[in-house]
């Protein structure tokens, strides 16, 4: 039996007092004092909860997770609206939420001031058999005498008690037939937003644009860049405020794609423009890099702590403090960069460039610009795929780190091309190709992460020691963590050969051939 909450609205002109009177006339009712409480609906920036049909509300010191139909999935006492899943008390609600929300912040969608009165319908033993809550709410801060846009129509919540289904049916029937209450037609959040004239936050669309194979390359490229610019704009505010680590991460992914696209489609835009924008975007990459590095390290720290025996965990405290101060400084510099004239100029110039059609006579400096995009993209994908295979095949157990690093970069280039131009190719083949490539990338990525982390740890240890903030126990703890990371690096390195072999298969090569008109192999002049 599910503990479903029925949400009912009043007919025009009816009052909550009328509802109370109606119930009191029919049932034994106990009424509690009216309470004032705050409530807000929470979700991540990318509306992960709503995408899964979940609604999270914090009200009156309690957090409730329901389905959009009102079925209760979990509740927990919570004195403040939580920011992160880790702010929740341990328990079933946190366990359900943590995998969904991950590191993203829970942002309030809309916050309300609520006046609420609870009525209990009782049986002959004074047992509560139905709970009815009467609410009037307004947008938080709207205050008394709120304009029409600030106040919500009154709401009645009815919750049954397990094992007393008849009583629930009776109450619902009385409310429907005698008081003419009607159930909400949508979920509560949608209802609240509609009533307040608020727009419901939607998930960002994916940045891959639907392209036509015969679209001129410069036009297709502009479409893609406009979509990517949209992603940058969407994540900018959250990045500045460092609401959670994913804003900057998504910002930088989009930025990398912009840069990759500019670099990998030569001859589509005039070279002078390309050179100029590449340089500026490179600058943007460099001012956002340190903040991301600090975020990544900070996310890793709890995992590092787990590697150590319980009594040694506290020894990492100086490292944690160092990382936090680095993070703050890096974000301050990032914000300063985003506030700068150079940043504004870049955006303005880029937007202008993307909005303008190709100048007449551009053919000479941008010979690929008017060619069909599918032809251009296919050439580039083929070239990138050949490079991945060639470089990967040259790597054996003795190969040092550098060629693996190059391969990682090359895989990224291929991946970005496949992602951005996915609309031009067969869905199934492309998906399979990307899946195989992703496995290879995961290995190379993990290898790189481990190498970077070792460098970071060593550097941090040096800095702490130089500043006199590293007691031996801390250095020892950092050393232990570095040893674990090294172990992981070795394991990943050893698995490379197998991972690459799984990519460099006949199947993959056949897919590439099928996917691209003319296949992927180099055309030799006959």
């Amino acid at each position: 039996m599910t503990d479903r909450e029925h949400l009912l609205t009043l007919p025009h002109g009816a009052t909550l007092e009328g509802v109370v009177a109606g119930l009191e006339g029919r049932f034994r009712v106990e009424s509690a004092e009216e309470r004032e409480l705050g409530s807000c609906f929470l979700d991540t920036f990318d509306v992960r909860l709503r995408e899964r049909g979940l609604v999270l509300v914090w009200r009156g010191g309690e957090l409730r997770l329901t389905t959009s139909e009102g079925e209760l999935l979990g509740r927990a006492p919570c004195s403040r609206a939580p920011a992160f899943a880790t702010d929740l008390p341990a328990g079933p609600l946190r366990e359900t939420l943590e995998p969904v929300v991950d590191v993203r912040r829970l942002l309030p969608q809309v916050a309300l001031d609520v006046r609420s009165r609870e009525l209990r319908v009782l049986d002959e033993r004074d047992k509560t058999v139905v709970r009815v809550t009467l609410e009037s709410a307004a947008r938080q801060g709207a205050g008394a005498g709120a304009s029409a846009n600030g106040a919500l129509p009154p709401l009645v919540r009815v919750r049954g008690v397990r094992g007393y289904d008849d009583a629930l049916d009776d109450v619902l029937r009385v409310l429907a037939d005698e008081r003419r209450l009607r159930p909400l037609e949508t979920d509560e959040l949608r209802h609240v937003c509609a009533a307040l004239g608020e727009e419901l936050r939607e998930a960002a669309p994916k940045a891959s644009v639907h392209l036509h194979p015969l679209q001129p390359a410069h036009d297709a490229a502009r479409s893609l860049h406009r979509a990517l610019l949209g992603v940058l704009a969407l994540n900018e505010a959250g990045t500045r405020d460092a609401l959670d680590t994913e804003f900057l991460h998504d910002y930088r992914v989009a930025l990398r794609r912009v840069r990759s696209l500019l670099a990998q489609l030569p001859g589509v835009f005039p070279p002078a423009a390309v050179e100029r924008f590449r340089a500026e975007f490179k600058w943007l990459g460099s001012v956002t890099g340190p903040a991301r590095d600090a975020d990544v390290l900070q996310l890793e720290l709890p995992r590092y702590a787990q590697l150590l025996p319980d009594e040694a965990r506290r020894d990492l405290a100086p490292l944690e403090a160092l990382v936090e101060s680095d993070r703050r400084r890096a974000y301050a510099e990032l914000v300063a960069a985003m506030d700068s004239q150079r940043y504004r100029d870049l955006y303005d110039a880029w937007r202008t460039f993307l909005g303008s059609p190709a100048p007449v006579g551009a053919n000479a400096s941008a010979p690929n610009g008017l060619r069909p995009i599918r032809a251009v993209a296919s050439e580039r994908i083929a070239s990138a795929a050949r490079k991945v295979l060639k470089r990967g095949r040259r790597i054996d157990e003795r190969t040092p780190a550098e060629p693996l690093h190059d391969l990682r970069i090359q895989c990224k280039k291929l991946r970005y091309l496949l992602d951005l131009f996915s609309s031009l190719y067969d869905e199934e083949d492309l998906a399979a190709l990307v899946k195989a490539l992703k496995r290879l990338q995961d290995c190379l990525g993990a290898l790189n992460d481990a190498a970077v982390q070792q460098d970071t740890l060593r550097e941090a240890a040096e800095r702490l020691a130089a500043a006199g903030e590293a007691p031996p126990a801390t250095l020892l703890a950092i050393g232990r963590v570095a040893a674990h990371v090294e172990q992981r690096r070795r394991a990943e390195r050893e698995s490379f050969a197998e991972r690459f072999a799984r990519f460099d298969t006949k199947k993959t090569r056949n897919r590439l051939d099928r996917l691209l008109p003319g296949g992927y192999r180099e055309r030799r002049p006959s």
Partner: protein
């Protein structure tokens, strides 16, 4: 799902009030909680204002009946449900004895209920019998409310002796209940137990008229008097029970997840047998 049983061979020690109060704390923390009243007296059921009736009679507890679930009633508090007692449960002992696998029946039913709940709390009848054996199998931990008197400790020792070395025996977590610190005997027994590491939980439930009045108010103390000393001590008790049953070591306690040390109790029993009053530890 975790199952705790409020169990003591002795009656009148605070099993029911503890069961109801702990179940309330559990639910208030967000755990879906079921309070199962196994005592035919039905005091827990009465305190929760539920009718002491099992539709289908005691048979639903024996035969893994499909009607079992429909007997569960929500309490007045969100997250807390009650499986009510029925006076016919006085026959449970006899009927269990007539069935196959007589000690495993309740555990089977608990498993059926498990998917819907995070915590199951048994309120057991006093005595030591086949129903008790069922509870030993079904529960992860026995919470033994103990009034701080020598005879209570003696009865506890009997329980421990019974469970000693049994494979799959539940964790035994005794706690002092109805403690009246004005009484020298209570103070002495409490400190004796602590000094000899008899394994009692740190949290103590004081003698409380708030708790006594639960039969009149018919509400857990956490709801009717949330800032009372009784309510606070039940919250602390719950935290400690959860930590101990998860194997988390508590500062000062003798190791993790261990049942009371028998040597301390053995000394006590020896002292009682020879007529000597238990001495204060040096």
């Amino acid at each position: 799902m975790k199952a705790y049983a409020l169990y003591n061979i002795k009656g009148g020690v605070g099993k029911t009030s503890s069961a109801v109060n702990l179940a309330y704390v559990s639910a208030s923390l967000g755990h879906r909680t079921l309070l199962w009243d196994l005592d035919p007296q039905g005091a827990a059921t009465f305190t929760c204002r539920v009718r002491p009736e099992l539709v289908g009679g005691v048979r639903v507890l024996l035969d893994d009946d499909a009607h079992l679930a429909s007997n569960v009633r929500g309490s007045d508090h969100e997250g807390l449900d009650v499986l009510p007692a029925d006076f016919s449960q006085r026959e449970l002992e006899q009927r269990l004895g007539a069935r196959s696998r007589p000690t495993e029946r309740l555990a089977r039913i608990a498993r059926r209920l498990a998917p819907g709940y995070d915590r199951l709390i048994f309120d057991c009848a006093p005595g030591i019998n086949l129903v008790g054996e069922n509870v030993f199998r079904a529960a992860d931990a026995l919470l033994v409310p103990t009034v701080p008197t020598p005879l209570s400790l003696r009865t506890l020792a009997q329980l421990l002796k019974l469970l000693r070395g049994r494979p799959g025996a539940p964790l035994v977590l005794p706690f002092f209940c109805m403690v009246d610190r004005r009484k020298a005997l209570h103070r002495d027994v409490c400190s004796y137990a602590r000094a000899h590491s008899l394994g009692f939980l740190d949290a103590e439930i004081p003698y409380s008229s708030t708790v006594e009045r639960m039969g009149i108010r018919r509400d857990p103390v956490g709801a009717s008097a949330p800032s009372s000393a009784a309510a606070r001590s039940y919250r602390l008790l719950w935290d400690e029970v959860e930590a101990r049953s998860a194997g988390v070591p508590i500062a000062g306690a003798p190791g993790a997840a261990s049942s009371p040390r028998r040597s301390g109790l053995r000394d006590l029993l020896e002292a009682m047998r020879t007529g000597r009053v238990p001495e204060e530890p040096r």
